[in-house]
Symmetry: C2
Subunit: 334 residues, 2 copies
DNA sequence: CCGGTTTACTAAATCGATTTAGTTAATGCA
DNA sequence: TGCATTAACTAAATCGATTTAGTAAACCGG
C-alpha cells in the first residue's frame, strides 16, 4: 500500500517526471494531446495524489498561514478567526490557529513552530512581550499583520478597533438616556493591553465631554474570578453606579451573572452596555445594548492584507494602522 | 537576507551537515564536547531555525492533523475543536481546521487538500456523502476518527453522544415536571444526519415510556430561517405544546427568539429545554435547562485516539463506537 | 605492537516534487 | 536543399533536512 509518486505516474505513462509535473501545473504549451491523455489515464488508474510537502520544499512556500490569538475565549477572537479562515480557504490558503492563552512563552513557542513549518505569513494578536521575535520578522520582511493590539514602536500592519470611539458610543448613549453614574469594568490587568487601555481612556474622555466626573471606584479592571464580587461591592457603595459598561464580552457575562444573583432590575436599577456583540444579546430579557466591533470585516481585511504582503514582502515594514469603527446596538438594557 | 540552512551551520562550525543533524536530534552518543559547543555557537550567531518542511519530506510525517467539521456554527463543534487543539498542542502536534459548511463538495476538497499536505491523520465530522474517500482512507490505513456522526457500514473509530439518552433525559425531566404536550424542533432536514435522527427517535421512545402519544405536529425539523415562524404556528395549534425540546443550540436560539417576539412566559406558558450547553444558559432569565454533551472530553478522546492510530495504523479499520453520556442541567425554564 | 573495538565524525543517497538547460525530431521558409 | 525555428519532450540539479554506510584515529588487551 505504498504511496504513488510522480515517478510512478511517469513510468506508467512512459514519459519523464518533468512532463508529468508540467501537466499537473497546466503548462500545456508544447504538450502532445496523446501524451496528455496517457498521463491523465496513469493518474487515474494509479490513484495518484500530489505531495504538497515536496512541492513546498522546492517552491519555498506552503500556502499556509498561521494565526496566533492571545486568548481564544473572547468571542471577538473566534469571529476574527472565522473570517480569516473563510477568506483564506477561498484563496486556497490553509490556516493553522494557535491559542497563546495570554502567555508570552506560549506565543514564542508558536511563532517559532509556525516559522519552522514555513508558513507564508502570520496574523498575531500580540501579547506584546516578544519584541525580539516581532523585530526579527519585520527585519526579515516576513509577512506579518497584528490584530487587536498595538505595539507602538513597531513598523507593522495593524488592524484594530477605534477603541476610544467604542467607549464613547456607549457613554454617549448612556448619558443621553439620563444615566450619570457610569461605571466601567474590564478583565485582565497585568500588561498594558491596547483595547483595555484605550477603552478606559475613551470612557474618561467621554465622561468629561458630558461634564461627568470620573470616580476611581467606578473604574475596575480585574480577573474573571473576582469580578462578580466587585459588581456587588460597587452596588453597595454609598453612591452606587446607575450604569455599567462591560469593556468586553467576558466582563459582560460576569456582570450579567452578578445581576441575576442579586436580582437587580435592568435597566431600572442598573443599565448594562457591553462592548463586543454576543450571540444572545437580542434574545435576552432585557435584550442587551451592545457596541459591536466589525469583527468579520477586520478578520477579512487582516487576511487580505497578509496575503498581499505574501506577494510584496518588501512592504512588510510599512506601518499602517487600520482603525475600524464600532457601531451601537441600542436595546432594552439601557 | 537569505535563509540560514543546516549547511551554513555546518560550514560555520566546521563539521558536516550530518553532525549538525545529529546534534539537533540530540543523538549525542559519540559527540565531542568541543564539537557540540561549536555547533551551538554557530546556531546562535547565524540565528539558524530548522525547516520542518524538509524534515517532513524525509521523515514522511508532518506532526500535523486535520479537522474537518461539518458545520462550525454549532457550539458543539467549536468546543470539540478547542479540546482537540489543546490536546494536540500539548503533544506537539499542529491542527488545521476546515469547515465543510455541510457541503459534501467542500468536504471532498478539504480531505484531498489535507491529504496532499500529508497530514498524519484526520478527525472528521462526516457529511456522509463521500463514501469513496472514507473507504479509501480506511483501506490505506490512514489514521481517521469520526465525530458526532455515524456512517454505519464503515469500520472506523467514532466518537459520539448517546443521542437517544439526551432526548430521554430531557423528556424524562419535562414529564416529571408535569408537562404532557412535548414538542421537538431541530435544524437540517436533508440528509440522514445521526444526531438529528437519534434525538428524534430517542424522543419518541421516551414519550412512549411515559405513556404520551407522539403527535406529528409536534415534531419539526426545518431550516433556520423558517424556524421562528414554525414555533409561532405550533403555539397557535388548537392544542399547542406546553414544552419544546430544542434538539441543538441553533434551534434553541430560534425558539428563544420566537418566545421573546411573542412575549410568551417561560416556563408558565411554555417550557424550554435545549440539547447542547450554551454560554448564556445560566445567565438567562429564566435560566435555560440544558442537556450537555461532554464536548471537551469527546474532543480530547478523539484526538488521543487519532494520535494513537498515528503510531498503530494497522488498527485504523477496527470499528469502535464510543458513546458518551449526556448530563442534565435543570434550570428555571422547565 | 597488532588486530579488534570504540569514538567521533563524514560522504552520499534519499524524500517527491519543480525547474532549467538541453536534446531530438519535425517544420518552415528562402 | 539547407539552416533556423518550433514542438515535444527529458536529464539532472535543486529545495533542506535525515539516515545509512563508511572512514579514520584513538584505545586496549594480550
Amino acid at each position: 500500500m505504498k504511496k504513488v509518486t510522480m515517478r510512478d505516474v511517469a513510468e506508467h505513462a512512459k514519459v519523464s517526471k518533468s512532463t508529468v509535473s508540467q501537466y499537473l501545473n497546466k503548462r500545456y504549451d508544447y504538450m502532445g494531446a496523446e501524451t496528455k491523455k496517457r498521463i491523465e489515464e496513469a493518474i487515474r488508474v494509479l490513484g495518484y495524489q500530489p505531495n504538497y510537502v515536496a512541492r513546498s520544499l522546492k517552491q519555498k512556500k506552503t500556502s499556509t498561514i498561521g494565526v496566533i490569538v492571545a486568548n481564544i475565549l473572547h468571542s471577538f477572537s473566534t469571529q476574527v478567526i472565522r473570517a480569516i479562515e473563510d477568506y483564506c480557504h477561498e484563496q486556497d490558503f490553509h490556516v493553522i490557529v494557535c491559542n497563546a492563552d495570554d502567555d508570552p512563552e506560549k506565543e514564542r513557542k508558536y511563532i517559532e513552530m509556525l516559522r519552522a513549518k514555513q508558513v507564508d505569513g502570520l496574523i498575531v494578536f500580540p501579547t506584546g512581550e516578544n519584541l525580539d521575535l516581532y523585530d526579527r520578522m519585520i527585519e526579515e520582511k516576513f509577512p506579518l499583520v497584528f490584530v487587536d493590539r498595538l505595539i507602538d514602536q513597531l513598523p507593522v500592519r495593524c488592524v484594530l478597533l477605534d477603541n476610544e470611539a467604542a467607549s464613547e458610543l456607549a457613554v454617549d448613549h448612556l448619558a443621553d438616556q439620563g444615566y450619570r453614574r457610569i461605571a466601567i469594568m474590564t478583565t485582565s490587568l497585568e500588561r498594558k493591553i491596547t483595547p483595555r487601555i484605550e477603552r478606559i481612556s475613551g470612557y474618561r474622555k467621554a465622561l468629561e465631554k458630558h461634564g461627568l466626573e470620573p470616580k476611581e471606584e467606578y473604574i475596575k479592571s480585574l480577573e474573571i474570578p473576582s469580578m462578580k464580587e466587585e459588581v456587588k461591592n460597587m452596588l453597595s457603595l454609598p453612591e452606587p453606579p446607575d450604569a455599567i459598561l462591560a469593556a468586553n464580552d467576558m466582563a459582560l457575562m460576569e456582570i450579567l451573572s452578578a445581576v441575576k444573583d442579586e436580582n437587580i432590575r435592568v435597566p431600572e436599577e442598573l443599565a448594562v452596555v457591553g462592548i463586543d456583540e454576543v450571540s444572545f444579546a437580542s434574545l435576552f430579557t432585557p435584550s442587551i445594548t451592545t457596541v459591536e466591533q466589525p469583527a468579520f470585516l477586520m478578520g477579512k481585511e487582516a487576511a487580505a492584507m497578509l496575503l498581499e504582503l505574501t506577494e510584496k514582502p518588501e512592504r512588510v515594514a510599512e506601518k499602517h494602522v487600520l482603525r475600524y469603527e464600532p457601531s451601537l446596538h441600542p436595546r432594552e438594557s439601557s
